[in-house]
Symmetry: C2
Amino acid sequence: MPKLHHHPFSAASRYVRLVLAEYDETAEFIEEKPWLRVPALLQLNPAGTLPIFIDDNDTVVSGGAVVAEYLLETKGARMGEVRLMPEHAADRAEVRRLVEWFSQKLHGEVTNYMVTEKVYKRRMGAGEGNNSPDPAAIRAARANIRYHLQYIGYLAGRRNWLAGRELSLADFAAAAELSCIDYLGEVPWEADESAKAWYARVKSRPSFRSLLSDTLRGVPASTHYADLDF
Amino acid sequence: MPKLHHHPFSAASRYVRLVLAEYDETAEFIEEKPWLRVPALLQLNPAGTLPIFIDDNDTVVSGGAVVAEYLLETKGARMGEVRLMPEHAADRAEVRRLVEWFSQKLHGEVTNYMVTEKVYKRRMGAGEGNNSPDPAAIRAARANIRYHLQYIGYLAGRRNWLAGRELSLADFAAAAELSCIDYLGEVPWEADESAKAWYARVKSRPSFRSLLSDTLRGVPASTHYADLDF
C-alpha cells in the first residue's frame, strides 16, 4: 500500500488525502511533526515539508501540488475519464493558477499563521522550537481570511465550481486550507454566503469524511466543524 | 502574436521566455513595473505577479510554473515529441518538485532579495514604494545562494541534467533564477565546479541568447554575464 507522511493540520497533506479519496485510493498514513527537521524526512524531501507520498513502486513524491498532479497522472486516468482536471489547456491553467493561489497565497497569509500559532506551538515539546505565541500573526490571519473568503465567494458566485464548470483540484486545494481554519473556528462564514454554500457542497462529498473526523488532543473542533448544515 | 507582460529581472518571466524560445515560439514583450500594483494587470492576474501570458485566442495565463505547463501542453506537443518534460509520471513529479524548489524556495531566499534591493529599488520613482536599501536582505541572499548552488552542483553531479537524464523545465527554472543573480555578479561560481559546468551548458543554448543581451540602465552586467566561457 502507498504511504503518506502527513500531519492532520498540514493543509497540503489534507489536499492530498482528499484527492486520494476522490480517486478511491487508500494509503497508510504516517503522522509526522512538521515543526521538526527530521533527517529521514529531509532525505525524502529536501524542502522539509509535508506531505510526502511513497507509491507502491517506491516512487517518492513531495509537496501538495506535485503529489496531486502525480495522482492525477497515475490514478486519475484509470477511472475512465480523468477527474478533477479539465480537458482543455486554458481550463487546466486556471485550475493550476488557483491551486497555487490557495496552497501558496492563502496558505502563507492565513492557514500557516493559524496552524502554527494555534496547533503546532501547543504540540511542540521542550527544545522543539520557539513556542511562544505571536498575537500579531493571529491578527494578520484574521484580517487576511476576509478577503480570501470574498475571493472564493466571487469565484463560486459566477462559476459552478471554483475553477469552472467542473469540480477540480482547485476546489480541494481551497477546501483543504479552509478545513484547517474551520476546525479552529476562524472562518467568518457569515461574511460570504456564496463561499459558505460552495464549502457546504465540497464538505458533503464522501472524500471529506476522514477530514471531518480528525481530532486534536487539547484543541476541540469548532462546534460546526463536522456539521454538513453549518 | 501572443503577448507576454514581463520584466527583464522577473525570474519567472525569464523562465517563460526560455521555454517559449525552446519551443520556437515568439511573443510580443510588454515591460511592466513589478513593484507597482497596476489595476489593469490585477484584472489579468489577481496575484499581481509577473509574467502574464496572453495567447492568440485571448487565453490569459499567469505565473511562471503555470505558464510553462500551459506552453508544454499547447506548444510543446506540436514538436513531434513533447520536450522539456519526461514521459513517466515519477520523472515528471521530480521535474515539478524542482521547478517549485527553484521558483519558490531559491527565489524567496535569494533572487527576490537581490533583485528587489539591487534592481527594483533603483527603478522606483517617487511615490512608487519604499526604496531605501536593506543591507540585511542582501546579506541573507549572499549566505543562502551558497547552499542553493551546492544543491544544484549535487544534482548536476549525479545526473545528466538537474531533474534526470533529459533537459527539462527544471533546468530552465533554475537557470532563470541564476541568470538574474549572475547579471548582478552575485553567484559565487568558484564555490561549485559542477554547478558552474551545468550552467555553462544551459547558457550555451540558443534559447538563452535574448537573456544574455538584457541590459539595465545604471546597473551594468557583471563582466562574465554574457560570456559562454566564464
